[in-house]
Point group: C2
């Protein structure tokens, strides 16, 4: 009882006790976040670094300093809490990704993204599970059953969409960004579904009925989550359009959008759906309708406030993972068998590489088969980047591993402790080493990525500065500047491939039924151009 | 142990567990916040209501519904947590108040504000303490000692600055707003200092040395807190000016400002200073320097994002107090002696009224003596409003009462339970009844408050919409539109009274030394007017 009590207290202390220790750790955390921002800014010109790596390294250094000052007793100010991560840090990141995503690019590649995110994750999970079954016994890890192996598969099938946002640039490589990031969002959801399914199904008696149930469960989860996100987004657009808050208070509009987005995530969690998918689609709908119904200042505010929240949450996560990595308690078991630990980490890294290769190349081939226009196909070089950029494992893997292999943040069994430290190793290694090499790899394989970038804006200027105050600044340039527009062949293909026909009917439907009710660009007074002309030009 | 354990768990559950109950309560909370925003918006035209009362009433109604559905077992989804309040909800409110305050108005009345906030609170605390010593024994409350009585004085001397923000309008009654709100900020700090001093000093042996120590402690705390806030604000201005983040990312600028503000609060808590004072002055300095160093979009974003955070935190607090008020456990003791409880609440309310009257009128008289210009004096009608508008007791009183009279959120002694329920009663009654009557009272006593309002902006248009995108929109109108400007007598007084001489030298100093280093209006490229001309016109 006392142990559990102190475990709970230590776990929650940074969140809500007035004891002086938690004030110290909050101070340290905020100061470190500030350091990450300033140092990340100073290192921005460096081609090898990105902000995730900066935050990770600062976190690791702080961990070392704390470890030394406390006499090797404790390096962590707080134990990694999956709830802090899933309830507070992840929603703003994913919502902002949906809010700022280039919708045309995303929906144009929707089928490919779904293929990668759903089938790809299944393939990856299967290969990793089979691999660990094969190798772990040889290494000397014997205490796991089939459920544990499948859980390991699900844990390491979860791409880190947060890190992907950092290494790929939406303006420089829009196709790759939308593919890898879109896949990451679907993949996060798939991994969480898989993981929960593995935890709840009786896996010693796999039969076709369970497999069917599992597939049905996935489709239910996917469609229900998407629907919930879309409905919440539409509701926010409707309320703001009807009540016209802007006349009275910008602050209320911003608060309403923020709270509705968060509500969509929490409602998904309430109904055991995928909050990540829900909040992502809520972000897309809000940027398509709600954002155009609010005042000028609300638009500037929401755009930057959501981006800032997401940025801070991302930095926080990496800092946190870095600081938590040195937790001495977990490494105590490992120090007795360092060989095993290194072997486990290496096997897992190799399986992550193999598992991702096993679906990126075949599924890209499949996806290319469906595309009639050669310009729309994914080239082999792009496939390599897709494979590489999705190799990073991050906080989702950490959170799932903690959920599976610890009780109340403490690790008691040797094999469990090794799994936790191996997860940390894989996360650190993949983020730092793979993340480090992604920018140079893109430069190597796509030497002139700028031919796919926006024409209007300077690529050196970051997204948020270019046209922050233009009413159409949010995605019109991006929507119009898809890589191959202007070339006759692709312009023709815009109307010949099935996806664009869907797009055409969607536009018709949107203009006829959705916009009059929910607003959106062209249905608000302050757009200078003709409403129909403008609205016809965008998704 | 088990009891303490479950107490801690239930207390923290909404913050960080993944169990389904906490997801349910988070959902309910976010939905209720949304309801408050929408209903508050619909009731905005109503002259009697304000958002605090709406949130309180919605909270109370929800509490009743939960009470009925759970079969009178529990009405609260979570127990009032002073840490949630002091660490997360209060800082954004006070920071935003400092950020948006009309600096000229505030500093012009600085001495009066200090007089009210420091001396006034001491007077009020003394009168309430003497009153409860006098009356409580007669009512039948016998278990308290001198320390408890003084603590009760400190608890009920804490004006609710959050509620003041809601009932007074900065544009309509700028003098009253700056006096009452400024007093509220200083008063909050004084109450917390008083309360902590009473908790730590041995009050059975009061001697001149302790009194001196106490006074010294107060002045140390006040000056150190102010200095810390000013230094943090200046540091943020310096960093942003030097690194010029705006060229790279608006999000970084906004994140930096937000985190620096929070860091100032947490650092004050770390050094046992008054976080409220620190973050208030940090807000003032940031709006004077830092805000002018950032990009256009950062300025719009910070202005509205801070206001939104503050608005949501305020609504949350009132909702929370409303929901917590019906906690059945606390009322169980009281139901055995309803007469005592009513008597205690009435005595406290009467003492609050008397304690405030005892310093507002004498100190206003003193303050008027120092003013040579009759237009600057506080009229008797204004004194009545100052007295009335500061009567509300809010979350600070609740938090202090919980700190004093409960252990881990549970009340075991009868007298302690009665104190908690009486605090709730006083808070609810003062907020609802006094808050309700403030707007009509102002209309009654100052029938034409608009002659003191801004000329440029429509008084019906809320603050955030009028000039949201003008570069000087933040406080230049307010600074120039002090009530009596334009009248020759007061224009003359601008240069004759000592306060204005201080202001004149400060402006000189600011232009010569501060602005070149820390930026500010006139020292950034995008101001159209001549820098010296513009900077000479404002504080």
């Amino acid at each position: 009882m006392a142990a559990a009590f102190s475990a709970v207290v230590s776990r929650l202390q940074v969140l809500s006790t007035s004891d002086h220790g938690s004030v110290v750790s909050l101070n340290l955390f905020v100061a470190l976040l500030l350091a990450c921002i300033v140092i990340g800014h100073l290192l921005e010109e460096n081609r090898w670094m990105n902000e995730s790596i900066t935050a990770l390294v600062i976190g690791l250094c702080t961990g070392i300093v704390i470890l030394l000052t406390t006499g090797m007793k404790s390096s962590h100010l707080l134990v990694f809490s999956e709830d802090l991560f899933f309830i507070y840090l992840l929603p703003p990141i994913i919502f902002n990704a949906g809010f700022q995503v280039k919708k045309k690019q995303f929906f144009r590649n929707f089928m490919t993204i779904m293929l990668f995110g759903a089938i790809g994750t299944l393939v990856s999970c299967t290969i990793i599970s089979l691999g660990v079954i094969q190798f772990f016994k040889k290494i000397g890890i014997n205490s796991f059953d089939i459920g544990d192996y499948l859980a390991i598969g699900a844990i390491f099938a979860a791409t880190d969409s947060v890190c992907t946002l950092q290494v790929l640039n939406q303006d420089e490589t829009p196709l790759l960004y939308s593919l890898v990031f879109g896949e990451g969002v679907v993949n996060d959801a798939t991994s969480v579904v898989l993981f929960n399914a593995i935890q709840s199904f009786d896996l010693n008696h796999i039969n076709p009925r369970i497999a069917l149930q599992f597939t049905g469960n996935f489709f239910y989860l996917f469609s229900a989550s998407t629907l919930l996100g879309v409905l919440t987004g539409l509701l926010s657009a409707f309320i703001i359009k009807k009540l016209y808050f802007g006349r009275h208070s910008t602050d209320r509009e911003v608060a309403l959008m923020m709270l509705m987005a968060y509500l969509s995530y929490m409602m998904a969690e309430l109904f055991y759906l995928s909050g990540i998918l829900t909040v992502f689609f809520c972000g897309i709908v809000m940027s398509h309708y709600t954002w155009h119904n609010v005042t000028e200042s609300s638009r500037v505010t929401t755009k930057h406030a959501f981006a800032t929240l997401s940025f801070v949450a991302e930095t926080f996560i990496f800092l946190y993972v870095g600081m938590d990595a040195l937790d001495i308690e977990k490494w105590r078991f490992v120090s007795n068998s360092p060989g095993t630990s290194v072997a486990v980490s290496s096997v897992l890294l190799a399986l992550v590489l193999a598992g991702r290769a096993a679906f990126v190349f075949p599924l890209s081939f499949l996806s290319n088969l469906a595309k009639k226009n050669p310009n729309e196909r994914i080239s082999f070089r792009q496939q390599v980047i897709i494979w590489w950029a999705g190799l990073m494992r991050g906080a989702v893997s950490m959170a799932l591993a903690y959920n599976k292999f610890t009780s109340s943040g403490h690790t008691h069994l040797r094999d469990n402790a090794i799994m936790i430290t191996s997860t940390i190793t894989v996360v650190l290694f993949s983020t730092v080493v793979f993340g480090f090499l992604t920018k140079p790899l893109i430069r190597l394989l796509l030497p002139h990525p700028k031919h796919t970038s926006m024409v209007f804006s300077d690529p050196n200027a970051p997204k948020s500065v270019t046209f922050p105050l233009l009413e159409g600044g949010q995605d019109s340039e991006g929507d119009l500047m898809v890589p191959d527009i202007g070339r006759p062949s692709s312009l023709r293909s815009l109307w010949t491939t099935p996806a664009h026909t869907v797009h055409y009917y969607w536009r018709k439907f949107d203009d006829a039924f959705m916009r009059p009710v929910f607003g959106g660009r062209g249905f608000v007074p302050f757009v200078p151009g003709s409403p129909t002309e403008r609205s016809a030009r965008q998704l």
